[in-house]
């Protein structure tokens, strides 16, 4: 078991003929991911790494069963492409694209909610179930199979935490990159719920960062419903207030969204909190019984 993707997951790649799309498709196939089809409007009939390319998602799903779509499309067509995937009946959509206008993200999020689809991202590194399947850009050599679920708002920190866990022999059930834009298609709490129901996940690691109130909201869910132990870490405790730190997400506004506010909520909900990144593996180890 795992969440969202496993060894049987059939994958569609939107934007497969672009430089990044083609390269990452190659890496995904190398990890055993079942990429069945690709889409780039105007490039139908071509092949990328022997994967057939179609002009529309509709054509692709009429030929192949597709469970998830992963998107490497330009930001200006991201909304269009996500809605195309959802309208074709795909229930899990991961948008890797960076710099998507936030108003487009709000529309996609509302649309996905209406159609009961899960939108991961934008600016997500993707999802990996180590040893079985990966969608997106996560470098597979950082991960290994095991009992820890990871949800990370930062892509690169997800890699580092997983690699540090592997270094002491602790693998991961599934690792989900949330995407660190101002608005995320799917929030921390939604992913926590999936991990809560997954039999193979024994411990969940939350890698949060300053900005927004997702960690505070997740803390409320953890307090009331989460049946599995959690280790949480918040990046950016030393960042001076008011500085914009890259992701639209990482802004401190007033006292809200500060590392302090998040850590206090999470501690009050009974989670272990790592002050520094390197403390995560030993805390997780202590919780695996």
């Amino acid at each position: 078991m795992s969440i969202l993707i496993n060894k049987n997951t059939k994958i569609l790649v939107q934007g497969i003929t672009g430089n990044i799309g083609a390269t990452q498709t190659k890496y995904m196939l190398k990890e055993g991911a079942k990429v069945v089809a690709g889409v780039t409007p105007g490039k139908g009939g071509q092949k990328v790494e022997s994967v057939p390319v179609f002009d529309t998602v509709e054509e692709a799903v009429s030929r192949f069963k597709v469970d998830v779509s992963v998107l490497f499309v330009p930001a200006r067509v991201a909304k269009d492409s996500v809605i195309e995937a959802i309208n074709a009946g795909i229930k899990v959509v991961a948008l890797i694209t960076e710099h998507t206008p936030v108003h487009d993200v709000m529309e996609m999020k509302a649309y996905a909610l209406q159609k009961k689809a899960i939108l991961i991202g934008p600016t997500t590194p993707g999802i990996i179930t180590p040893g079985e399947c990966k969608i997106g850009i996560l470098p597979a050599n950082m991960f290994c199979p095991g009992p820890v679920g990871i949800i990370s708002r930062s892509g690169t920190l997800a890699y580092e935490v997983a690699a540090n866990l592997c270094a002491i022999g602790i693998g991961q059930s599934t690792v989900v990159g949330m995407g660190a834009d101002r608005v995320a298609g799917t929030n921390l709490t939604d992913i926590l719920k999936l991990f809560n129901e997954d039999k193979e996940t024994k411990v969940v690691v939350i890698v949060g960062e300053i900005g927004g109130t997702q960690e505070e909201d997740a803390a409320e869910y953890i307090r009331v419903e989460m049946s599995k132990p959690i280790v949480a870490y918040i990046a950016g405790a030393s960042v001076p207030p008011g500085k914009r730190m890259g992701h639209a997400g990482a802004i401190i506004e007033g006292g809200k969204g500060s590392a302090k506010s998040k850590i206090e909520s999470l501690l009050a909900a009974g989670t272990k909190v790592a002050d520094r990144l390197y403390e995560i593996p030993s805390l997780a180890k202590g919780l695996i019984s």
Binding site: A110, P139, S154, T156, Y159, G212, R276, L277
Partner: protein, 382 residues
């Protein structure tokens, strides 16, 4: 991208929101002419993109029209928090009966635009928000896929005690402001204060409009203005999605992710003698040339004692990036310590390129180990 007050007001006015009479002046003479045309006392407002200008002489009331030229000259010459004004707004002075706060922003967690309204607008709104949060009413726009309608807002606006004409006009202003917010890809659209004057007019007296940088392709006129104000290197960095923030420390930092960068900063700061000179996130578009730009940007800062690279090769071809780093080290004959942790796709090639130019490489996944090595090379302890 935050727009100037005069730009925001121009846009608001185009959407039918009433603003004070007056205009933008770039010279004292122009200011004088605007005031004479108005024929009444004026307010002169410095056009700088920093908050709190009123407290440092950026907003002046001039009752005697003969003094406008002198005052405008002073305001035009006054730098505010290091910024030179782009001009001054010369506006009719109005008699204020009531000040209202109106703002629209995005609720990040729900991903829904939220309208905020408060009967106590003005410069102290943040204090009100802090001390009396119950005085600020927040209304989520239920469905961002649809427009809002005036009828949905009437009962909301009644809550701040408005009735009659003021109620209806305020509702209409919110509908217009929401239209601006949507059509301009706003992150914040704000009228503070919205003033009800003694002669019963409702006016937007100060305006804020912040536009999503990621959406500038839909607003070519704003995009052009932004690009015109940037250096060629800044343009190249922006196109690649690189973010740079100066922080005044002694360790130059280049990281391939924002979370990774913040986490690295936290670890560097654990050493009292070390602190990051900057935040630099490359974004997902690393090339050899981009890393040359990044290295040069970091090296321009005074007092850099070492450079710390923390890179992951997921989407980023770090083996290409390494070539740019090596090029700068060779060309500049750099002799400060450079520590790199670079992992992911094609990491072995990356290490080889960097080792050849004397970069200290940590091949394990723990950033902490690399920070410890950095501290050791600089001879500092926690």
């Amino acid at each position: 991208m935050r727009l100037h007050e005069y730009e925001a007001k121009e846009i608001f006015s185009k959407y039918g929101i009433t603003i004070q009479q007056g205009g933008l002046a770039k010279t004292p003479k122009e200011a004088q002419n605007i005031a004479i045309n108005l024929g009444k006392p004026v307010i002169i407002k410095s056009q700088v993109l920093v908050g709190g200008r009123g407290k440092v002489g950026g907003i002046r009331i001039v009752e005697d029209l003969n003094e406008v030229e002198i005052v405008a000259d002073e305001v035009l010459k006054t730098e505010i928090k290091g910024y030179k004004p782009e001009g001054v707004l010369v506006l009719e002075k109005v008699e204020i009966k009531k000040e209202i706060y109106l703002g629209i922003t995005i609720d990040r967690t729900s991903g829904i635009p939220t309208i905020m309204i408060c009967s106590e607008g003005g410069v102290e709104i943040e204090k009100v928000a802090h001390s009396y949060p119950e005085k600020i009413f927040k209304f989520p726009v239920i469905n961002p896929l649809q427009n809002i309608y005036a009828y949905q807002l009437v009962s909301a606006v009644k809550k701040i005690g408005l009735t009659g004409k003021a109620l209806i006009e305020t509702v209409n202003i919110i509908v217009k402001l929401y239209k601006v917010f949507k059509e301009y890809d706003g992150l914040i659209a704000e009228i503070n204060p919205l003033v009800i004057t003694e002669d019963e007019r409702i006016l937007c007296v100060d305006a804020v409009l912040q536009v999503d940088d990621s959406a500038l392709f839909r607003h070519p006129e704003l995009d052009k203005r932004k690009l015109d104000a940037m250096s060629e290197r800044d343009k190249r960095l922006m196109r690649k999605g690189t973010t740079f923030v100066k922080l005044k420390g002694n360790i130059g930092l280049i990281c391939s992710g924002a979370g990774l960068a913040m986490s690295t900063m936290d670890m560097i700061k654990d050493y009292s003698l070390l602190s990051p000179a900057n935040f630099l996130e490359t974004g997902g578009g690393i090339t050899s040339d981009l890393m040359v730009d990044c290295m040069e940007l970091v090296l321009e800062q005074p007092g850099i004692k070492a450079i710390f690279l923390n890179l992951y090769g997921g989407i980023n071809p770090i083996h290409e990036g390494a070539k740019g780093v090596a090029k700068v080290i060779r060309e500049r004959k750099l002799n400060i310590p450079i520590v790199a942790k670079a992992l992911g796709n094609r990491q072995e090639e990356t290490w080889k390129t960097l080792e050849e130019v004397g970069v200290h490489i940590i091949k394990e996944s723990e950033t902490q180990k690399a920070v410890e090595l950095l501290a050791k090379l600089l001879g500092v302890k926690k």
